[in-house]
């Protein structure tokens, strides 16, 4: 078997995104390396979701470059779970099978892989339930299972626990940890500091479309270098 193509590192240089005269991402440069869990921190409206959409390939940059280590990453190689995941009007398992089908997984393998993916997130019992009537927490886990089933090298997770209760949030954090341990690179956004402390290896601190800090989690939480980040950590409202 051929050596799998390595997507990482991902080099982002001087990336800007403008729309309707507003600059949402402002000359961002960063490198995403394999192995660690990278957490993008920042207040509401900082541009976390936009930055991930750009990296995932859903938005086209206004300026700058997004360069993977391979020419054209396929969807199955780098997956994304959205802040509000969209479930198709079919069963939980069929949602995963759908993603596998689009990823080119042969028909006879899909059912087994979907079942395994559901089991990994503890949803085997609701495999046949219509996905859209599941609870918020179950839908979030299903969204993770759907992305994980593709066995991607990189997974972008946009606020994976926003609007979940603490119990459901912990379940999702455990799943993220498990995904990390299978070797998939985690890039996730959150504005939940506790979650960042629990999960992050690296922190990217984003404010008003700019990366203000890039540090290891230990460094960042011990001694943030910018006033914005300090205020954010101390829980002050970060009005500029």
């Amino acid at each position: 078997m051929a050596e799998p193509r390595r997507l990482l590192p991902l080099e982002i240089s001087e990336l800007s995104f403008r729309i309707n005269g507003r600059t949402l991402i402002d000359r961002v440069s960063l490198t995403i390396r394999p192995g660690t869990r990278t957490v993008i921190l920042g207040p509401n409206g900082a541009g976390k979701s936009v930055l991930m959409r750009l990296a995932h390939g859903l938005l086209d940059p206004s300026a700058g470059r997004i360069r993977w280590n391979v020419p054209e990453p396929r969807p199955r190689e780098q997956a994304m779970v959205f802040q509000r995941p969209v479930m198709l009007r079919r069963s939980a398992r069929a949602n995963i099978e759908y993603a596998l089908k689009l990823a080119g997984v042969p028909g006879r393998e899909r059912a087994d892989r979907a079942a395994a993916a559901l089991a990994r997130v503890g949803l085997e019992r609701i495999a046949r339930s219509p996905a859209r009537v599941l609870s918020g927490g179950e839908q979030q886990r299903l969204a993770l299972a759907r992305a994980w089933a593709l066995d991607p090298q990189v997974m972008f997770l946009d606020e994976p626990t926003a609007s979940l209760d603490p119990g459901a949030a912990r379940e999702v954090e455990d799943i993220i940890q498990a995904i990390h341990e299978t070797g998939t690179k985690i890039v996730m956004s959150t504005h939940n500091l506790g979650q960042a402390r629990r999960l992050a290896d690296d922190i990217l601190y984003l404010q008003a479309g700019r990366i203000e800090e890039s540090a290891t989690a230990a460094e960042f939480f011990r001694q943030p270098r910018t006033a914005h980040a300090t205020a954010f950590i101390q829980g002050e409202l970060p009005w500029h």
């Binding site: 859903l58 396929r74 959205f82 198709l88 009007r89 759908y98 993603a99 689009l102 990823a103 859209r132």
Partner: protein, 234 residues
């Protein structure tokens, strides 16, 4: 007043007895309109979906035209199809005028814009929700169209029911292209028009009652489909 109540009683008796002429007219109506709605679905649903998510030149224009065509007066559609099918018309050689096929064609012209326009709206709304997720999973244009049609299947089914209701209740177009020939192209609406003008109120009323019942039934179905789908699939 008495005349009316007598007519209603006679109509009810006619419906109850399963009068063969009545049944034949009813079946032809159903057959013509079912064919029309099936053909319109084959054209209208993909067209509506493509307009909803496609990014091609002329899309806006086509959408405006489609919406305008929703309100086409049936007699004008009838006249247009008549001209197409008449001996001197471009399709005259097929000899379709005054056949059930002609009526199907007229109804297709009438309801395809309705089905396409309503489908466009439904699919466009779903696309708002789904676009990023489908793109993220790697769905191309055709795949997206198929997925959206399948995922909005219950709403689209109610659109088809609405199209059927419109087709079966329409009189102007089928009168012109069908000719209301007894035993050949006489459907419920044209029969009602004729029998009323001839003064045979019981038959007209009996057909009217059936038509009303049919429309009620269609709307009940549409309502139940929507409700069940919402409860079962979210």
């Amino acid at each position: 007043m008495q005349e009316i109540s007598q007519a209603i009683a006679a109509a009810a008796a006619l419906v109850g007895s399963g009068d063969s002429k009545l049944v034949a007219i009813m079946l032809l109506s159903l057959r013509v309109s079912l064919c029309a709605v099936l053909l319109s679905a084959l054209i209208g649903l993909p067209l509506g979906a493509a307009l909803a998510i496609g990014r091609f030149a002329g899309r806006q224009t086509l959408t405006v035209i489609l919406n305008a065509f929703m309100g086409l007066p049936p007699v004008v559609v009838g006249l247009f199809v008549y001209l197409m099918l008449s001996r001197a018309g471009p399709l005259g050689q097929f000899g379709l005028l005054f056949t059930p096929t002609a009526m199907v064609i007229a109804q297709v012209v009438l309801i395809t814009p309705i089905i396409a326009a309503l489908a466009r709206q439904i699919v466009a709304d779903a696309w708002q929700d789904y676009a990023e997720q489908l793109k993220s999973l790697g769905a191309g244009f055709t795949q997206s169209v198929r997925t959206l049609i399948w995922d909005t299947r219950f709403s689209l089914l109610t659109v088809l029911l609405a199209g059927f209701g419109r087709a079966v209740a329409e009189v102007g177009a089928v009168m012109i292209v069908g000719g209301n020939i007894d035993g050949v192209t006489r459907v419920m609406t044209t029969a009602i028009a004729l029998e009323t003008s001839r003064g045979d109120l019981p038959l007209a009323l009996a057909l009217g009652l059936i038509l009303i019942a049919l429309v009620l039934l269609l709307n009940t179905c549409a309502h139940l489909i929507r409700q069940t789908a919402q409860r079962r699939y979210g």
